[in-house]
């Protein structure tokens, strides 16, 4: 199982639909400061169900919606769609590709999508547990946060090991 593609639209600095087609192996993501590399990691955390705006470097969850630039106006919705390869059948779904999605509107309304159809967050979470991606807590190490493994409390480290059961 691996991440086949990630499509972001209206999410942080991804105004237009931006699709990243991914291959297996080791991918180095490079580019100047402020170009949008960490926003890719944030997009993944978000579609995996992250509920804390602070973990996405925002004050409120609305901060993930494209706020505009000097030549583009703000958008009203953020959307991220992740496609996972399921040819190994690890996920209890009969498709060889599984897509999960998340949307947030400026109104505050949010949607979760599984194979393009609306579902509840708990459906996504249950599915991801099967894939070993529970909330992404150790599959995504955000910038500057590697130190939290050491500076965190013992019970927080325990929670990470519980995920690896």
């Amino acid at each position: 199982m691996y991440l086949k593609s990630l499509a972001a639209r209206g999410f942080k600095s991804f105004a237009d639909k931006t699709e990243i087609l991914c291959q297996q192996g080791v991918i180095a993501v490079v580019g100047p400061n402020g170009s949008g590399k960490s926003n890719i990691a944030d997009a993944v955390l978000w579609v995996l169900g992250e509920q804390s705006a602070r973990h996405l470097r925002g004050g409120s969850m609305e901060d993930v919606i494209f706020a505009g630039s000097h030549s583009r106006s703000a958008l009203g919705m953020a959307e991220v769609i992740m496609t996972l390869d399921n040819s190994s059948g690890q996920l209890p779904i009969e498709f060889t590709e599984v897509t999960i999605g998340r949307r947030l509107y400026r109104s505050g309304e949010s949607e979760y999508l599984l194979m393009g159809k609306r579902c509840r967050l708990s459906d996504i979470i249950d599915l991801l547990e099967e894939a070993g991606l529970g909330r992404g807590i150790y599959s995504v190490i955000s910038q500057g946060r590697i130190d939290e493994v050491l500076s965190g409390r013992p019970d927080e480290r325990r929670a990470l090991v519980d995920e690896a059961a």
């Binding site: 600095s13 192996g25 013992p154």
Partner: protein, 165 residues
């Protein structure tokens, strides 16, 4: 629940010790339960001994040493239960050239287990990748994925084209 956790903890702690000695030659790292008698509520402590040094508080370790110890813990989790993909955002920033080489060796050992996305500014890490994804901030203030190119050393001499990322 206790047996599952005890079993997972044992695996994670064996992996941790093994990976720690790879990253810290001559050093020893151990995961400990805060309360042996009550595994239900116990947290996890980390104890380290570095070559030529005594056992010491984690807080007194240097910036690079802390990053490396935290990576040993994270990869011990990957070894215990691989995730479909891992995203590491500039975890190599505090490392000197020796430890950078050890980090790259660690990635090499795990590249068969999971797909890695490594956000980095370090040349050494880039050249360990199978492919580079270039990210750039466009003139209109939005992010684009500009190019995917193979790191130099993987190309045969005739193919090494210096594309601008």
């Amino acid at each position: 629940i206790n047996d599952v956790f005890a079993d997972t903890f044992e695996k994670a702690s064996n992996h941790f010790s093994e990976i720690f000695s790879l990253l810290f030659p001559g050093g020893r790292g151990k995961l400990l339960l805060t309360n042996e008698d009550n595994t239900l509520d116990a947290g996890i402590d980390i104890e380290v001994k570095l070559e030529r040094k005594k056992f010491q508080k984690l807080s007194l370790m240097s910036g690079g040493e802390r990053a490396l110890a935290a990576l040993a813990f994270t990869f011990a989790l990957y070894a215990t239960k691989p995730t479909p993909f891992c995203i590491l955002d500039e975890v190599d920033a505090p490392l000197d050239e020796f430890n950078l080489a050890r980090f790259v060796d660690l990635i090499d050992r795990f590249r068969k287990e999971s797909q890695f996305f490594i956000i980095t500014h370090q040349q050494r890490t880039m050249s360990a990748a199978d492919i580079l994804y270039g990210v750039s901030m466009q003139a209109n203030g939005t992010t684009a994925l500009v190019s995917q190119k193979i790191p130099e050393q993987k190309l045969s001499p005739t193919e090494s084209v210096q594309e601008e990322v």
